[in-house]
Symmetry: C2
Subunit: 366 residues, 2 copies
């Protein structure tokens, strides 16, 4: 009997297609039998050990990247958007709106179209990375680039959603954080336990709250036995949560976290307190250094805002306990911001080379 059952279980195929976070984590999410599931098979992203960072820190510390840039639209936003759009569809919504530094708009547009809805996005004119603009356009959003920053755009879309029949899908939408918490589940499912530290970039500060919710839910169910210290990282020129005040004119190369008045600031401060966590800022130079290190040492191309999590870890590396397990969240794909990569690399790039064998061999050092 035992052998027969064992055989049956071994007969399963090698690979099981991940169905997206809603079907994958059904019992943990506020859905019901009437919720239509609008998915692009988001989630199930890589957790990659960063050997070069292990070596920098030493003391048997193990550092992993949760590479959420491999979600369908290239950022962690897809985890929340599958929830927000599925619930909007359930409620009969025909159009959605968001303010965005680029990742939310890409995700909202893609999921809205998959769900047969219209999407409007307000972005800060001139401050959205090229790839993200390309995405919103390809996914057929109606894009309004306003003279103003993200915070202004968010105020306007909140009012539009209040006064007109259109659903707001920014992270004030509660379903967004519910979806985003699944990244914490995946980390525990992969490591077998929560990490000791989670380093995460903070812009509108929804994601740190979502992760905290996820870690707490697994703890409550007894799946994990501890909670991580939450390390929230902001760019120095855009660090309202670090400095404890609204930044009127936020500036940073990390456009995805260029937000001066985070809508989720109270939630984030609670996370900091409850987790005995740390908020810190890193300069654009420190961000670019981490960004380059990830590319050149680890073969991982993330967007500048994502590299803030690694830059933050490197800044506090002396304070990390021996033997700790750390996860750095890489929120978005580097391909979203090709200009940043072309302007900030140390590679050798020779153009206009004649296709001559001897010359090429020579220039390669042979």
């Amino acid at each position: 009997m035992l052998n027969k059952i064992k055989k049956q279980f071994n007969k399963k195929t090698n690979f099981e297609q991940w169905p997206g976070i809603i079907k994958g984590y059904k019992k943990w999410l506020p859905i019901n039998k009437n919720t239509p599931i609008i998915t692009l098979q988001e989630g199930a992203t890589p957790l990659i050990e960063l050997e070069s960072i292990n070596q920098i820190i030493g003391r048997n510390v193990k550092v992993y990247a949760k590479y959420d840039g491999l979600n369908p639209t290239g950022s962690f936003k897809d985890r929340g958007m599958t929830m927000a759009i599925s619930k909007a569809k359930e409620e009969g919504c025909k159009a959605v709106i968001c303010a965005s530094t680029g990742n939310t708009s890409a995700s909202a547009a893609a999921y809205a179209k998959k769900g047969g809805m219209k999407s409007f996005v307000l972005i800060p004119d001139g401050y959205v990375a090229q790839g993200k603009l390309a995405q919103a356009l390809v996914y057929g959003a109606e894009v309004l680039a306003i003279k103003g920053n993200f915070d202004t755009a968010l105020e306007i879309v909140q009012r539009l959603a209040n006064e007109f029949p259109i659903t707001l899908v920014n992270s004030v939408n509660p379903y967004r954080l519910e979806g985003q918490k699944t990244a914490a589940f995946e980390i525990i499912d992969s490591l077998g336990e929560a990490p000791d530290y989670l380093c995460i970039p903070m812009g509108n500060a929804g994601n740190i709250s979502a992760y905290w919710m996820g870690f707490n839910e697994y703890l409550t169910e007894g799946i994990s036995k501890k909670l991580p210290n939450m390390v929230g990282v902001q760019a120095t020129g855009s660090a309202p949560l670090v400095f404890g005040k609204i930044i009127k004119h936020p500036e940073t190369i990390a456009t995805a976290i260029r937000i001066g008045n985070p809508v989720n600031k109270e939630k984030a401060n609670i996370v900091k307190k409850e987790s005995k966590g740390t908020f810190l800022d890193v300069t654009d130079e420190e961000i670019i250094k981490a960004y380059q290190l990830l590319g050149k040492q680890e073969g991982i191309f993330c967007e500048p805002a994502s590299a803030a999590s690694v830059a933050g870890l490197l800044k506090i590396k002396e304070k990390i306990s021996n033997n700790a397990t750390i996860v750095c969240v890489l929120t978005g794909n580097g391909l979203k911001d090709p200009d940043c990569a072309i302007d900030n690399n140390e590679a050798i790039f020779k153009q206009g080379i004649e296709p001559n064998f001897e010359e090429i061999a020579k220039s390669m050092g042979f």
Copy 2:
């Protein structure tokens, strides 16, 4: 006893981290206990039903996209590169080289760095999409942009690899196709059977041969019971396999398949014959139409070359049998070529808008 065992199996966590294609499909790949596994957790990509294409074709036909743009460097090349680089490492290699229209160079550079090796890439000057160039630079490759097309670059790197201690990782490297065949395994593992048709873009024509190898291996092992018709699609301006002759000056918006003299042409012709398949060409206009349809209807952003598979399917849709299952391979991420997206969309994009609530509401039609 039965209940005890069942309980044990149900206790597993929700999500199982995919370990990359080498560990995931170990027994199917030419590795041994001494092979170091250099992985970025490639593979396990989404298989997404394309409801809009189902409706266009009708007759109970089911069409899926194998969205291989969600691999770590954004293309199917990663499946082959994890194999090629792991084997190169096993053999003590210190540097790799490739010619590339952009995807191979990105993948080679990333995996080489992960494996602690140096990488050189030859690309056609001015004909590599911006995102792909950004990748090669971020991953720290030495990039030589030559005056000449892919075919010229490939001739040169083949000679370099022959004469100097450097490993060639183009698809003449046999390990590349071994890794790429795992996409066929995943499709069968997901659908429970091989599809009736596989539509795939052809550039250097390695991938169609790799899929065919994968489908045949699962058939031989009795995991599947049929083989698909292989539909290979080229761009009209770059269709040596369709027209049966070398194209000296290939031209197409789909730069990833802008190859006039495919190194794997003989293998591809055998696949066509054995599978009773079809090779056809699609114009750049047809490619862009399919590209836009995927974005606006399905929320999927692929690169132009990838859309060729869907364009090809739409071109021969009358010939598809009733009730057929079809998989279209989307080889690369649309973010690799943001310019193409910005130049080819029908979205509404208004810039320089004053942040005035009433005006914005009015411009949205409220």
